[in-house]
Amino acid sequence: MNNIQLEKLLATLKVEESKAIVEYAGVLTEVQQKALEQKVISRYPEATEVTFRENPDLIAGLRVLYQDYVYDDSAQGRVEQLKNTLETI
């Protein structure tokens, strides 16, 4: 790989790194999407783009993924937490 190709690859990776992904289950209207986009960018200012992706495995609610941060407000996440709590008993 020559220097120009390497720079292009690094630029692509940097763009990927600065993308935030919102996964949701159910329906998300355009108004809700816009509001969420603003909220995510205010929370993670370095995020340049917010993409939305449907994920039925979440059952309900949403999950935000940005770099190595995960904000989980989904039903599946709550079930996971309950399972972990019960395992400690």
Binding site: D68, Y69, D72, G77, Q81, L82, N84, T85
Partner: protein
């Protein structure tokens, strides 16, 4: 069961496994991970963060690392590594994560979580060490006394009786006036050895107050690294209740090897003998947690008996000198003494207790001073003993003969610790010449008879009268 936390969304910081080597995992991501933090991966496998640098995070897997693959996700917990400690752990054999491995079922979860790493109590929270911890071994209780809250190193070559001494100390706590909870940590030992030790302790009814923490040679190095800290955390649980605890670390040499292996895989710069630069801190922070707390905090204590194995009696090697400088004294086991049949093979001349007679009861203090002096004088004159008796003056001959009898008296069989007043009576007997006319070959026989006689006496405080009575009435010279 509290479930309020399920009402709130969670914010996690995650990472992905880049590589895994010998139980040490390197991860991408985990920007919020802190040093010493517990992270959790697939199948609830835990890891401990030990390295944070610009390339990522690295840690040790505390579990079956064969179940971890590249790309697996780990997440931060925001917690330091901790173990569950409760009263029910007494009498059990546990691993380095305080999980039972003796096949007697799970431990109840009614205790508390104790952090494995903790800053040692400061000077204000402590009180001086002045209560004895009787080991039952005459050579130690008389000349190298150990106090509750002291750190006394047990050092010597392999197979010189170091572990046997530690086990006898545990057994002797059975009759202690103020009960002592004993914790034996086996680091890098053979599983068969741990099994034999547990069996022996059960046979002698010592497991009722003992906990065994085991990280054998076949366990991952991560667990061998963690085991002493787990044992100390369990000890602190009991100490904070006002109890006295004895912890035996067997042995810290293997602990240092485990940490060296972890550090080299983590690509930390190697120093002397390939140990990492913080090898001293590995043991100093462990042993500083052995304290005697002041009365406001309950007055509990942790007494540490770390064991270090030397190679060819080299006490000036790296790890031995490190630990000698940390501890409050050392008990030196010599191979030559062991091979010559003097067991326990304790070299009183090279051993020291920096706490000293402050940790002795008054009767023992009274008789032990003369014993030490007699033995030291005998050692100086021992070289002359090889000359014919005709060449020496009467006083020198008497000193040599007395010294031989003292050395013979200090021999003790394994699993046979002596109560302190029996020891005082025996030392009084030899100091005052009651054994001078007994032949060397008969010393052990006379000692056994005298010990049996003392066991039948109700009032042992009056040891001077008891000795005079016994030797005048029963022993024919």
């Amino acid at each position: 069961m509290k479930l309020e936390h399920l009402n709130k969304p969670t914010t996690k910081n995650i990472g992905w496994v880049k590589s895994i080597k010998d139980g040490i995992v390197a991860l991408d991501g985990l920007q919020e991970a802190k040093m010493g933090e517990k992270i959790v991966g697939p199948n609830s496998i835990q890891a401990l963060v030990l390295n944070i640098d610009r390339t990522g995070v690295a840690g040790i897997i505390l579990g079956d690392f064969t179940k971890i693959a590249e790309g697996d996700q780990f997440e931060t917990t925001g917690e330091v590594m901790s173990i569950h400690a409760s009263d029910a752990v007494v009498g059990r054999v546990v691993n380095a994560q305080a999980e039972p491995i003796d096949g007697r079922g799970p431990l109840p979860k009614d205790g508390v979580y104790m952090p494995v790493e903790k800053i040692a109590p400061g000077v204000i929270e402590r009180q001086p060490v002045n209560q004895p911890l009787q080991t039952g071994i005459m050579a130690v209780d008389a000349m190298i006394p150990i106090g509750r809250g002291q750190r006394e190193l047990v050092i010597g070559d392999r197979n010189t009786g170091k572990t046997a001494f530690a086990v006898d100390t545990i057994i002797n706590q059975k009759n202690s006036e103020k009960p002592v909870v004993c914790i034996y940590v086996g680091i890098g030992q053979k599983r068969s050895r741990i099994a034999q030790l547990v069996e022996k302790l059960e046979q002698l009814e010592a497991m009722e107050y003992t906990i065994v923490v085991s990280a054998t040679a076949s366990d991952p190095v991560a667990l061998q690294y963690l085991a002493p800290y787990t044992a100390t955390a369990i000890g602190e649980y009991f100490m904070e209740q006002g109890k006295d605890v004895l912890i035996i670390y067997d042995d810290l040499t293997k602990h240092a090897w485990a940490y060296r292996q972890i550090s080299l895989v983590l690509e930390r710069p190697p120093g002397r003998e390939a140990y990492p630069g913080d090898i001293f801190y590995l043991h100093s922070r462990l042993l500083e947690r052995s304290v005697r707390l002041n009365e406001e905090l309950g007055g509990g204590s942790i007494t540490a008996l770390p064991i270090v194995e030397t190679q060819l009696s080299d006490v000036s090697a790296y790890i031995p000198t490190n630990i000698i400088s940390i501890t409050d004294g050392q008990i030196y086991f010599e191979t030559d003494l062991f091979n010559a049949g003097f067991r326990p093979a304790i070299d009183a001349g090279n051993s020291v207790s920096r706490v000293g007679t402050t940790a002795q009861i008054k009767p023992m203090k009274k008789v032990a001073g003369q014993l030490r002096l007699e033995l030291a004088q005998f050692k100086e004159l021992e070289a002359f003993a090889q000359f014919g008796s005709g060449d020496l003056d009467a006083r020198t001959k008497q000193r040599i003969e007395r010294g031989r009898r003292i050395r013979e008296l200090l021999k003790q069989k394994q699993y046979n610790p002596l109560p302190v007043f029996t020891q005082v009576a025996l030392i009084y007997a030899v100091n005052n010449g009651f054994l001078d006319e007994v032949s060397l070959e008969k010393i052990q026989e006379v000692k056994e008879r005298f010990v049996l006689y003392l066991e039948g006496q109700e009032n042992k405080d009056n040891y001077e009268e008891l000795v005079k009575d016994y030797f005048e009435k029963y022993e024919i010279t």
